[in-house]
Symmetry: C2
């Protein structure tokens, strides 16, 4: 019973499709890594939740917030800045446009949103890793956006393209990570006008999981779409979602030209947008949960409806990024009760609207992967899962309020994601799950370790953490008294050493390489 | 807005009743501590949850488990060991007793449990700190049982009576800790047959919150009751619950004479018992969640019904201690998905039985207050709260699978308890909560920091952590790059320095002191 019987014997690198490709390192090394505790394992399919959602708002409460959001849309309005085309589209749709302020007749946004799908597939180049977004599904996605990293030597420094590639590799190898993400860190060593090409290229070639596109300028969004056409084929892209994109509102009640520009490109190409009010409550929304929910709903209604003006039927998500600020220092805080309540409430509003929902992740303000980081991340992640969130950006690697991508935190977080995936399966009530034979066999005062039911089930019975040390104090002491972040550090290094790239068709790879080279040559480097 | 506007300006030491007493340190010192970030604050009343419970089992699933538990009680039975009186009581009640094995006719236990209250008050000597146990209430209680401590110098060593007193002081000062607990650590420097006297004395004199009694022998349970009679008055004790006591099953399906003996003393005296199967699933119960729930229910039905045989109407709780073991090493694990599912399911079973429920806490296998400790504790605590748990033992201070009481962990956990208390209040939908005036006043593109609604609400708007560092990296670096556990360490020291004992009637104090002295003199020291 005490021998090591690792259930994760199939590494990501030995899955059928990948077997054809060979990276620099041998498959044997990857398999060795897989057998050692916490090695990378076979990818898990995205979560299909079998547990209910947790609902904090009553029907009456939801109706109040919806009615208030309608009032905001009608009376206060939303600004679409520096984009005459967007304003004209709203005018044509029947909205009241004065300057850049758009006011919406009652029901207009909801009417427009009827064409948006409540659930859709985001295709991966490896079809086994395509994800369903909406309904009972939950998809875990890495951290997005940090300009800094905490590297494996413990330094906090600007992120590079090598860091970016490393996080893509780790996400590819992590069984409970269903997505490759987007800006897993900002590779500041690459010119600002060209880095999106290297980022998209990394997602397409170093991983075979679904990924996110560039939103920092309309032409970069177009480059993303063009690269997707090379990877998936032109017709396939026009008919299917192959890239998902983060369109943040500039809260309160503003969408700027950058975000609207990117949204137009993606929606026109039938690709998915996540319309997300980025809220630090108290600064960008009222200091109350209900007030924040009201503003979030109004902003999402306007932004998501806009994508349907661009192309009816284009996939769009109800996004919420909920944090509070410290009213004493102005600093953002995470893992506190108010953002959890916002997440629970916003998820309910999204379900009533019939849109897939994004919020949460593993968020923290901590500067290092310490207890603060873990408490705050776990509080956020638990509410994210139980809210019934469909798309969980920032589910691993986030540190320091999103300024830092941390290797150690990434490894700790993906372990937690595995736990959440198991939790979401609920309670097995099959005859085997009921275990009455075991109870009868063992009887009072005996133990279950050796009984037939235990022998038949023990390998899969309990979630096995790749980070937790459950050994005795004496053994932990003999092994160097390592805290969790140090074990995570060693695991990240082990995984990176064992990484092997998934196979990619050489013709497609050439096409992508050619596209990126020509684009880069077409313009001088820019650094601002 | 950035000035410090600490909302916790009333320290525990300056509450009306305590004001009459003066400890060694001045009230001014306590108030200074209170104003500094993370100082002790005014005690919060126990939680009355305004959020719903989270339910993972359907009606059908619950019925399967209940039916299976009835089958166990009828066919397998439960052993009551080395207690002829208990066996005779079961015989008299109509059970089938063979040797020490008791088999229960269908419905007998449920019938007996009809006399048990679904909710009751546990009285504290300070009436403002009495707690309601059952229904929508949640009461947080410190760690129970560890023989070791991690002290403020970072040593792991056997616990002493001084440590015990320190944890009682910290629990007394912690706003979100509603209870003084029981064996907050095991004071191994006091003879084993006398330490219960010092422990109960510490709870009665160093705190005015409700507390737990000794269960290590029937005569020690009786000493606890006798001391309660001195503190509360004889008649009051006979008519009211003033002490609550942990009666663990010796799972699977055994109650031993120590636990049954203590249960008899407390139930006869109308005091509360928590009947808790102590389960490391895979060893003491089947490896499946449903099988574990079935066994837990059967054990609780038998043990709780026994208290009603002793005295119909005596308060009794449905307890569950859920952990899994690593099937590879045999070590207990915490914070994993399976125990959370057990907690959610057991809470549902308890509600259907009409008994108050105890489970969870802030559990971890980690040896130090690191990220593992925090992830595992937060996972456990979130499921504990959302399950609708009434009595949360081990809610602060637990480390190393319950072998260690940690000062640092205690301080970090009580901060989390404060967050849970806020979360349980749900979403304020009052006009002020809706904040429509604020949204109208601020408008698109502006910020909320200066608006009238923010000014009126910012002091109470968001939970303020006493441990989290939300400052910039640069400021955190300038302040010594302290990880969370180091900040917690400094806070514990600050609190202990500021502690002042609550007032106690000198006559009662003399009575207690006299009782303890006489008891100690009546027998030689025993160390095993």
């Amino acid at each position: 019973m005490t021998e090591d019987t690792d259930q994760l014997t199939t590494s990501a690198a030995s899955a059928p499709r990948e077997r054809r490709g060979r990276g620099e390192r041998s498959g044997a090394a990857a398999r060795r890594a897989a057998r050692s505790g916490g090695g990378p394992g076979q990818s898990l399919t995205y979560i299909t939740r079998k547990v209910p959602t947790y609902e904090v708002l009553s029907e009456e409460g939801l109706a109040i917030i919806e009615s208030n959001a309608d009032t905001i849309l009608e009376e206060v309005g939303i600004e679409f800045r520096d984009d005459a085309e967007a304003l004209q589209m709203w005018r044509d749709a029947g909205a009241d446009v004065k300057g850049e302020r758009v006011r919406f007749p009652k029901g207009l946004c909801r009417e427009l949103l009827k064409s948006a799908p409540s659930s859709f597939t985001q295709h991966a180049r490896n079809p086994a890793k395509s994800v369903q977004i909406g309904g009972d599904s939950t998809v875990f996605v890495p951290v997005y956006g940090p300009p800094f990293v905490r590297d494996l030597e413990g330094n906090r420094r600007y992120a590079t393209i090598e860091d970016f590639q490393n996080f893509v590799k780790l996400a590819y190898m992590a069984p409970s990570m269903h997505h490759s993400g987007g800006t897993v860190c900002e590779p500041v060593d690459v010119p600002v006008n060209k880095r999106h090409l290297d980022m998209v290229m990394a997602h397409m070639t170093l991983s075979d999981k679904p990924f996110m596109g560039s939103v920092t300028a309309p032409e970069r969004a177009q480059d993303t779409v063009d690269m997707c056409k090379i990877l998936f084929g032109e017709e396939f892209v026009d008919n299917n979602a192959v890239v998902i994109n983060l369109i943040n509102a500039n809260s309160p009640m503003v969408f700027d030209d950058t975000m609207v520009g990117a949204a137009k490109v993606y929606a026109r190409n039938n690709q998915a947008c996540i319309v997300t009010p980025f809220i630090l409550a108290g600064a960008m929304s009222p200091v109350t949960v209900a007030g924040t929910l009201t503003q979030v709903l109004a902003e999402v209604l306007a932004g998501a409806a806009f994508t349907q003006l661009v192309r009816p039927g284009a996939p769009v998500l109800f996004g919420t990024f909920a944090s509070s600020i410290s009213m004493q220092s102005g600093a953002p805080t995470f893992g506190t009760p108010e953002p959890s309540l916002v997440s629970y409430g916003a998820a309910q509003l999204a379900r009533r609207l019939g849109l897939p929902f994004r919020t949460g992740g593993s968020l923290t303000a901590s500067k290092v992967a310490d207890a603060q980081a873990a408490y705050e991340s776990a509080n956020t992640l638990n509410s994210t899962l139980l809210a019934g969130t469909n798309f969980v950006l920032h589910s691993a690697g986030w540190l320091e309020g999103g300024l830092v991508s941390s290797y150690e935190k990434f490894m700790m977080d993906i372990d937690q994601l595995g736990m959440m995936q198991r939790l979401a399966q609920g309670i097995d009530l099959s005859e085997n799950g009921q275990a009455m034979d075991a109870i009868r066999e063992v009887g009072p005062g005996q133990h279950y370790l050796g009984c037939a039911h235990t022998q038949a089930n023990f390998q899969e019975a309990f979630y096995r953490s790749s980070i937790a040390d459950n050994n005795s104090f004496e053994q932990w002491q003999a092994e160097g008294q390592k805290p969790a972040h140090q074990r995570a550090n060693e695991l990240a290094q082990k995984w990176l050493d064992a990484y092997e790239a998934p196979f990619i068709d050489p013709g497609i790879l050439d096409g992508l390489t050619d596209f990126v080279s020509k684009k880069k040559e077409s313009m001088p480097d820019a650094f601002t």
